[in-house]
């Protein structure tokens, strides 16, 4: 089976692995190259995956002609089934007071109440050349002899005549200017703009970000657009190729250095407990408190 790695070096790059390489070379080694992740699926990841999958299903059903009410009913049923533990015959435990199962359903219903009817917003899912909707679109394309970019776009929409990529986010943070500023500069949004342009053969007008703030008592939504000009994308591409070259260099030398300035960022690095341990005990720490789950960007969803 083809994977994204050859001789310990990565050749297929997505936004997650680029972000990891930017964050810290040692983090990149543990999470991407060696495939370690903290034990127990993060509630944020689980909630985000189920929410994104529900909206993906909703937009596919709408594209196929279903009414909002019919699509919503199907989507809620699927989300309830996906969040049910059939082995133990009980709901999946989310282990969070805000990102709970009931609040997942609340967030789906409230989102669709707010944004589900797109007629007034002049938005519609882009129809691909094969007639299918541009929803959960996997992409991969060569950028050099031995590097490809790959990933998944939640949805491509048309606003008027212009194509936009749409991305869904869930967060516990307030949707203030401080929240929105994280998306420029940002690897994922630049990668989406770059990839959108490459796969649609036309410039992308921007990435529409639909953010949902999940609190115990309510789900609050806001929408914003982040844009990249041609020259900004050229700069991002040059920076990215340099980052890849540098990261592969660490791999060739067999040494991914730590970047201690990143240890406390992003809510604290999950590998902090490993890096603070004596070097000869790190492998034991990884094997005891982490699971192996190889990140493979080329794998299609």
């Amino acid at each position: 089976m083809q994977t994204s790695y050859k001789d310990g070096l990565q050749w297929a790059w997505d936004a997650t692995s680029l972000t990891a390489a930017h964050k810290c070379p040692r983090y990149y080694q543990y999470r991407i190259i060696e495939g370690w992740e903290p034990q127990g699926l993060s509630v944020h990841l689980l909630f985000g995956q189920l929410y994104a999958s529900a909206l993906e299903q909703f937009y596919k059903l709408r594209f196929a002609g279903a009414s909002i009410d019919d699509a919503l009913r199907d989507v809620v049923r699927t989300a309830l089934i996906q969040s049910w533990d059939y082995e133990n015959n009980c709901p999946v435990i989310f282990d969070s007071s805000s990102k709970s199962r009931i609040n997942l359903i609340r967030t789906i219903v409230w989102y669709i109440e707010k944004y589900g009817n797109e007629t007034g917003q002049n938005l519609k899912t882009l129809r691909l050349q094969n007639g299918k909707p541009a929803v959960e679109l996997s992409f991969s394309f060569e950028v050099s002899d031995d590097i490809i970019f790959c990933g998944h776009l939640d949805r491509v929409v048309q606003m008027g005549n212009e194509p936009y990529i749409m991305d869904q986010k869930t967060t516990g943070s307030s949707l203030t200017n401080y929240y929105w500023r994280q998306f420029k500069p940002d690897v994922q949004m630049s990668m989406y703009s770059f990839a959108g342009q490459a796969i649609l053969n036309s410039p992308i007008a921007g990435v529409i970000i639909d953010a949902a703030q999940i609190t115990v008592g309510a789900s609050i939504f806001a929408r914003d657009v982040t844009q990249r000009s041609e020259i900004e994308l050229e700069e991002w591409f040059a920076d990215t190729m340099l980052l890849i070259e540098q990261t592969r260099g660490y791999g060739e030398k067999g040494h991914y250095p730590m970047r201690p300035t990143a240890c406390s960022m992003y809510g604290g690095c999950p590998f902090h407990s490993v890096c603070k341990t004596q070097p000869m005990l790190r492998q034991t720490e990884l094997e005891t408190n982490f699971n192996k789950n190889q990140w493979d960007p080329i794998k299609r969803r």
């Binding site: 919503l72 009913r73 809620v76 049923r77 309830l80 089934i81 049910w84 015959n89 009980c90 709901p91 199962r101 009931i102 359903i105 609340r106 219903v109 409230w110 109440e113 008592g217 309510a218």
Partner: protein, 64 residues
Amino acid sequence: MVDMVELFSRDPAKLTDKDIEEIIRIQRENRKHFVLGKMQKPKEKKKTKTEELLGKFDLSKFKV
């Protein structure tokens, strides 16, 4: 009337369309209350840390 907790504790594969519609109806109602509540609540200006601290002192006692 069936309550939410009861609906959420049932095997979802066995929920009827009516059950699902009831969940959606309740969530829509909750949203209406939330949106209405937000509209009716007068916006209070949040005090800055300095304003909060100054509020603790009787400034009239200080002579300039």
